[in-house]
Symmetry: C2
Subunit: 657 residues, 2 copies
């Protein structure tokens, strides 16, 4: 076998090394622990009234021989249990919870019982199509479900040291490794929904079994080769389709199978699949030293973040295929911008930060995290957005204009296809993995989330305490406590939105000759003493953002940003017909923290104009004089907090005068 | 039976009374005669290379026992033959053409042979479901096809005096009259696609058999009653659906069957169905004196033209259901605006003009006719639009952004579902029926289409000659030649777009005391002598149109209109990224007739601004200064003429500064 070679020697701390104590994220992490994970467990067990039935736990029980009945749900229903277990693992990794651990252990026992003797594990095929294993990789998410269970097994092992689920998924991966491959008699194929690629790299990292890395590499290199594996399987099935019996042709680009992965340069097809693939590509490139693969990954990344990403970090411009469309095509109202897709983009950004500490990756990570991902969940932790529009008119929703059938003006309860809620849970519960990376003698801080991190720099343990009112305020106070005085570098990400900043070390502002800016990070190299204090003050003005003129829907419009937050107008604050509001270019916009509002948010207020009631004749079309405008008070709230005060209009982009 | 009572004593001339000699319309009428009708005959006979197979003529041949094979096409394929025959009838009514008449006669012979002994006529059911007659009125267009054949039979009889097809459809209608009705043992139902209602009134007009009028009245009054007739039929069919097997629920509003017709006040559902129903409602109200029905029709009309109509006279805001959505929801790019729907709107306007000569009906008729309907067909008569968008970016089309899959950036050849092309043909070939109406001693001229009309006013034959360069020029020259000098009124529509006009009679301008304006018509009452000359000069400035501020997509934008024409920008004249163009409010806009362009059009030119190339950093989002604008020449062409110079961007609404 090939000798693997790391592209980079960066490392990220384990979850138990980072204790988050942060006013903003503390609320959400607590919500995940206290509400979301328990609520989701109830949902997975079909015990939430008015929520769509899940069947996910029961499917495992039936497959384990512990219950009777029939498989229920989507072909990928197993993954909901896996993602829940993964989130539980992260919670346990940070803070013991014997009761929760017992529930998880019992679930893992059931999962283990559902595994076949040969290692195979999938309740859909076990119960519904026992002879159909691997017959429809294009549609049936078998390796996708495997990937999620592998991620859960790895996370649970890391969190608890318990090997049971890790052994289950290792046996499953060993079995998969006998099924797929270029050797004669094996399936030369790959899954329609990427996920196993990144999961196998995690399994490799924890087991050090290189077969898993090679299998991941195999799936990536096989993808998109001609002739099409999916087409061959479709023919073998006599043309039978799982989801769309009438579609006789396969849309290869939908699952990024239209050309070899290393030849892809434009994000196309299902957005979640693409970013999961991208994450796997970066992981494999990093572990194998494959620079060609990394180059392809960076091309796709560039295309997404410079051509196809919403200002909220949302991706996927259209509901059909939950997919990318083309460069600069970013409609605000018919958008898809699935919560899961932004989570996948965060995965990719995190992996890139492991190879190249460039602030752009941190910027995109922050953008997606503080906007689309947090928007995905209500303040009560029980309602979720799958679709994250930038402009909503509730009149259009609910089947009135069918172009908006996918857009919900308020967050929904658990869905039958419940991908997003557990994805939010596993991301936020593992947030400690996204804040820092360490490379030789450099500690990188990518996100300004308060807490305490116990890191190791050049073999010296260093405690880093971070305290701030971020993201409402740009002053970040750090305390650096190495085990003993030593020289290393602290690299602090200067966000793209920050044009001015100061760094004060132990009460003295340090100047440009005492730090350097490298790839967007302020690097402070010095001999650190125990208890050294660093204050990074990021100037956090209200910013008027515009978009590339090729973005049709944003032309002549402005979006408001402050710090990492993108803002929006809501009808409840600004009246109906938000499109009739104009924001003058010279309008003074004032931030004001309102602790009563939505759990405490900084609102942004100013004077704008809106069309004066009654100043138009009422004709549908007329050559009469333009309607007059009248001064109005405009009030923006952070985008993530929208739709928490009932059904109403919302708009991120506002007309500018 | 109830005594029928006309609401109005208005009449419209027969087609042979109006000879159109008009530079603008002459081209299209000739195109219908020389190209469209022959081309469509070839298409209906499956003899056009590269066009979708029709099967329509062959279905009749098979049903007639003259050919072997299976039914091909949509369940409503018969209607294509009917609409073609109707268009042929109009052509023959205006100008004899023995060769064409012979082809039509032969087709009619085949149709007659396809009729069952009991009068039933429908090749789909005859060939595919011989035992399924009337089992699926909701979906299967049986009465819709009947209606179109009735219209053809009436038109062919009026044009040629030949009764064969009229007798066929009368027998069919007699049979339908034994199947449907409130009497026990009959079907208490109505068709999913309205059409027979208006057709039966035509049949009544020509045969004077009141059973047909009563049957039409029955279909309208039964529509939308509870319990749902469709639901009962669906149950009787064991839940079987024709089009969407998976849809178990019926969308009653889609076919305006959600409530009784007289209670409907908002246009909802499939746009063509609604306007066909509306036309039938007006017809029945007119013939029966039913003022409640007329009131309901006027409510629907008002809702459409004041809340749900595009500036081009297009209707139907969304592709899903080819349907209306809700008030002021008029997106320019994802629009449907089917050509057939605007044709139906013209039918309704024409019928309203038969009851109430109000210029609003003429204005809407003119708007739809000169914009959406003419746009529906290419200059070569062989390519057609079904969907008539007001903004097109070809990059989005062809499956790239699936929200635009229905939008074609260039006109298409014959479609499998070929409703629009024959509808354009039958409207334009019968245009002579839309220009004038006569009421006692008033001749109303609704449209300014040149030619010669032989009318009868108060029993006096009057010849009216009309000569102009309209719609490019607002000077209309009329010559009035009564059989002998007599007093009557000439009522000339003053279009809504015209703010100033002059009327000159025999060289002398007449003043406000010599004519009166009644409901938008300038009424000139005098003793007319043979050869009296009237010159109506309509001021035809370039107009800057705005829309009601509630129309989101048009806010801050202007559309250009001159005379009846709405204008648009095309990429071929103005470069790509049309949304980057700004038209200053004070821009001077100059019309210029270009005889070389698109068969001769008046273009409108002026100075505008566009975003300067390279004045934006290239970032997707940035708080940098707004990009600079640079002066640019803008050139508008009439909307109807777009997409005749290859695939390119187009926009009706332009940003205004």
């Amino acid at each position: 076998m090939t000798q693997t070679k790391l592209l980079s020697d960066m490392s990220k701390p384990l979850l138990q090394q980072v204790k988050i104590k942060d006013a903003f994220w503390g609320y959400y992490i607590n919500l995940i622990r206290e509400v979301v994970v328990p609520y989701q467990w109830e949902a997975l067990n079909d015990r939430v009234e008015n929520a769509e039935r899940s069947g996910a736990v029961n499917n495992f029980k039936i497959a384990a021989g512990l219950a009777e009945g029939e498989f229920y749900g989507m072909v990928f229903q197993d993954s909901d249990v896996a993602k829940w277990l993964e989130a539980v693992a992260y919670l346990l990794h940070v803070q013991p919870d014997p009761k929760l651990e017992q529930i998880a252990d019992e679930m893992i026992d059931i999962v283990a019982l559902a595994q076949h003797d040969d290692g195979y594990l999938n309740t859909y095929y076990t119960l519904k199509e026992p002879n159909g294993r691997w017959s429809n990789l294009e549609e049936c998410h078998e390796l996708y479900c495997a990937g999620h269970m592998i991620e859960a097994g790895v996370a649970y092992y890391r969190a608890t040291g318990k090997r049971k689920l890790l052994d289950v998924v290792s046996r499953f991966a060993d079995y998969i490794d006998t099924v797929f491959g270029s050797e004669a008699g094996r399936l030369q194929g790959y899954d329609g929904h990427q996920e196993i690629e990144l999961a196998l790299v995690k399994l490799y990292e924890v087991t050090e079994n290189e077969r898993y890395l090679l299998l991941s590499q195999y799936f990536l290199s096989e993808r998109g080769q001609s002739p099409s594996f999916y087409a061959e399987q479709l023919e073998q099935r006599g043309g039978q389709r799982h989801f769309y019996p009438d579609h006789t042709s396969i849309d290869l680009a939908y699952s990024q199978s239209h050309k070899p992965v290393v030849e892809q340069d434009t994000a196309i097809g299902h957005a979640v699949r693409l970013v999961y693939m991208l994450t796997g590509m970066i992981d494999v490139a990093n572990q194998t030293g494959d620079r060609e693969l990394l180059k392809a990954a960076k091309r796709l990344w560039d295309n997404i973040v410079h051509r196809q990403m919403y200002i909220t970090g949302g991706i996927g411009s259209m509901v059909h295929g939950e997919a990318f469309s083309y460069d600069y095509d970013l409609p605000n109202d018919t958008v898809y911008a699935e919560t899961c897709a932004s989570i996948g983009l965060i995965f990719a950004a995190q992996r890139m930060l492991m190879i190249e500490p460039n602030a752009e990756y941190g910027d995109v990570l922050e953008r997606a995290l503080y906007n689309t991902v947090v928007a995905g969940m209500s303040r009560d932790g029980k309602h979720f957005f799958y679709v994250n529009p930038l402009e909503v008119n509730p009149c259009s929703c609910g089947g009135v204009n069918h172009n908006y059938d996918h857009v919900k003006p308020v967050r929904q309860e658990w869905f039958g296809c419940a991908c997003c809620p557990p994805n939010v849970a596993r991301l936020i519960s593992s947030l400690g993995e996204y804040i820092y990376t360490v490379q030789e003698d450099i500690i990188y801080q990518h996100l300004y989330i308060g807490g305490e991190a116990n890191l190791v720099v050049g073999k010296i343990p260093v405690q880093l305490q971070s305290n701030s009112n971020y993201p409402w305020d740009g002053e970040i106070n750090l305390t650096v406590t190495p085990q003993h005085a030593c020289v290393f570098t602290l690299a602090l990400r200067i966000p793209q939105w920050c044009k001015q900043f100061t760094i004060v070390v132990n009460g003295h502002e340090i100047k440009q000759d005492q730090f350097t800016i490298v790839a967007g990070y302020a690097q402070i190299t010095r001999q650190w003493q125990q208890g050294d204090r660093v204050t990074l003050t990021l100037d956090m003005p209200v910013m008027r953002m515009h978009s590339h003129p090729h973005v049709r829907g944003n032309i002549g419009k402005v979006a408001i940003q402050r710090g990492p937050f993108i803002y929006c107008l809501e009808q409840v604050d600004n009246g109906a017909h938000l499109h009739e509001i104009l924001l003058p270019q010279d309008a003074e916009l004032t931030p004001r923290y309102d602790e009563q509002l939505l759990g405490g948010v900084t609102v942004i207020e100013g004077k704008g104009y809106r069309i004066k009631e009654g100043s138009w004749s009422g004709e549908l079309y007329s050559d009469e004089a333009l309607p007059e405008h009248t001064e109005t008070h405009v009030k923006f709230i952070p985008y993530y907090a929208w739709a928490n005060r009932g059904e109403n209009e919302m708009s991120v982009w506002v007309r500018e005068k």
